[in-house]
Amino acid sequence: MKPWLPLVTYLSLAAVAFFMPEYSKTIATIVFFMALGQAVNIFVGLTGYVDFGYVAFMAMGAYGLGVVLYYMPQLGFAALPLGLALGVLMSILLAAVVGGVALRLRGAYFAIATIGVNEGVKHLIIGANIWGGGAGLILGSRAFEAFGRDTALWLANVGSAVLVIATGFMAVVAMYLIQVSKAGYALAAIRQDEDAAKVMGINPTKYKLLAFMTSASLAGLLGAAYYPLGNLQVFPENVFFIEYILDGLAVMFIGGAGTVTGPIVGGALYIIVRTVVGELLPGYQVFVTALVLMTTVILLPRGIVGTLRLHLPPKLREWLP
């Protein structure tokens, strides 16, 4: 398996975003869907489990950076790494709690257990009125205070784009590292037959949890890059919006679940479909996404890259992981 194609893609996108800041918002939007697909893929693609409360991880990342910026703007530039670290940590913690409980369960039961995660955490934040409650965190003035006006705007524009791309890049690296290591073989065995894998001495919960927490930390970074850094706000109704898991699943399934390049192809196609639908039929984007996801899952379950890989000679297949 050679991960160079997806890595070079992300690196060149990062270079464009950095040196041509006028395009960075556009690139950030495109790569956001690719990176979301990558992050979802690390869990769903590698384990064959599906988490419907996945957006809660993005929300944790968003709240991590949001809370640090909102309550401690006097930290200055240290607020950024600290906030990102807190966001990732909270995502991983939530994944450890949810996964530690629910990943002991099989397939459908796991999916059932995750249905409530995003709603549950959202209602806790709104209901118990923590972190700004239902009103959310508005960060504009705090970010100006912490970073200075110009830098804050640069960070919101270019910085968030670079962070989104970096997340996609890290997701590819993580996927590569998992797949070439023992964990990759263990996960493949679990996906095919969990009982047989168990008999062979593999601890399924451990490896599923590894993939789950890796995926969650990347989702947390995406949430932090998109809401508090890019939009300078964190509203519970936005960050817990269930649509993003739909987007992530659509990107992953269009490209090919379990493949490394799949989410890049899927993300690029997906953004085209979304843009065209947004132009021709504004307001129908989610409807079309749901329709596309449903038809892809039923008619092309391997996705584009997955199907392509079946027909490629082994030498070329190496290059299209």
Binding site: L105, G107, I112, H123, A128, G283, V286, L293, M294
Partner: protein, 295 residues
């Protein structure tokens, strides 16, 4: 006595609403029992039923107890379609793809409702009076809805026990291969279970509107999916009576929880009730995944 008179309205409303919750979860439980498929789109059919009740009353003046029959037929037809178009082509073994397809169906239906009927909350008022019981005011519509829900669950149970089709369904729940060996058309049983399960879910959506007079909205289904699974799991997935009883328990818990949180006054009670629901789901799945009624 003071405490009792304070809490008893909550207990009663919890039981009445719990009866409807129980009815809605029986559909979910039946589908899981037979097809081993978690109907993630559950809430969308509740939403559909709610709109059926709304349009039937406001456009044709048809009262909810009559439009419930319409909802049952509509939901049944859609359930059959879901089986034929989604579940069957994927094959029951392909769990991930079925779950994702049903999830997409949930959002597809919600979006279709938003596009067709608008994003706003709508509702209706339909009252046929109320009576007072020891100081508690009970609306006839709610009481009738709760009793009808019980009657429907009992008839479903009778159907499953006394008719050939019902017995075939139960045979498939116990052992689908064994059922096939003795000559049961398993494919038809799957289709029947999907139709009956989703039909009952849609019907329950009609009844739910009796309790939320102005809460009908394209995206209202999400919390009902969550609550439906909490109840179905609590009752033991696959058990009809279990789901109904768990619905009563769940109604009581959320209602008393609402009372407790509004007394404590530190949190928004309705939001916290949903958080409790989510916590319950995790805890039951962890400690008692077979549900209350099974050992």
């Amino acid at each position: 006595m003071d405490f009792f008179s304070q809490i008893s309205p909550f207990l009663l409303s919890g039981l009445l609403l719990g009866s409807i919750y129980g009815l809605s979860a029986t559909g979910l439980s039946l589908i899981f029992g037979v097809l081993k498929v978690a109907n993630i789109a559950h809430g969308a059919f509740i939403m559909l039923g709610a709109y059926v009740a709304y349009f039937a009353l406001t456009m044709w003046g048809v009262v909810p107890f009559v439009s419930a029959i319409l909802a049952l037929a509509l939901g049944g037809a859609l359930g059959y379609l879901v089986y034929v178009a989604v579940v069957k082509p994927l094959g029951l073994k392909n769990e991930l793809n079925i779950l994702v397809a049903l999830f997409a169906l949930f959002l597809l239906m919600a979006e279709a409702a938003r596009i067709l009927w608008g994003p706003d909350f709508v509702g209706y008022t339909w009252t046929i009076g109320s009576f007072s019981l020891g100081g508690l005011i009970i609306e006839y519509t709610k009481l009738a809805g709760a009793l009808l829900a019980l009657a429907i669950v009992i008839s479903l149970e009778v159907f499953l026990r006394k008719t050939y089709a019902g017995r075939a369904i139960r045979a498939v729940v116990q052992d689908s291969v064994g059922a096939q060996v003795v000559g049961i058309n398993v494919d038809r049983v799957y289709a029947l279970a999907a139709a009956v399960g989703i039909g009952i879910t849609t019907l329950a959506g009609v009844f739910i509107t009796l309790f939320i007079p102005v809460g009908i909205n394209p995206y209202m289904g999400g919390p009902y999916t969550l609550m439906g699974f909490v109840i179905a799991v609590l009752g033991g997935l696959g058990s009809i009576m279990g789901a109904y009883l768990a619905g009563l328990v769940f109604g009581l818990i959320t209602s008393v929880g609402y009372f407790a949180f509004s007394e404590l006054g530190f949190a928004e009670p309705s939001q916290m009730a949903l958080f409790i629901a989510f916590l319950m789901l995790l805890l039951i799945l962890l400690f008692k995944p077979t549900g209350l009624l099974r050992i």
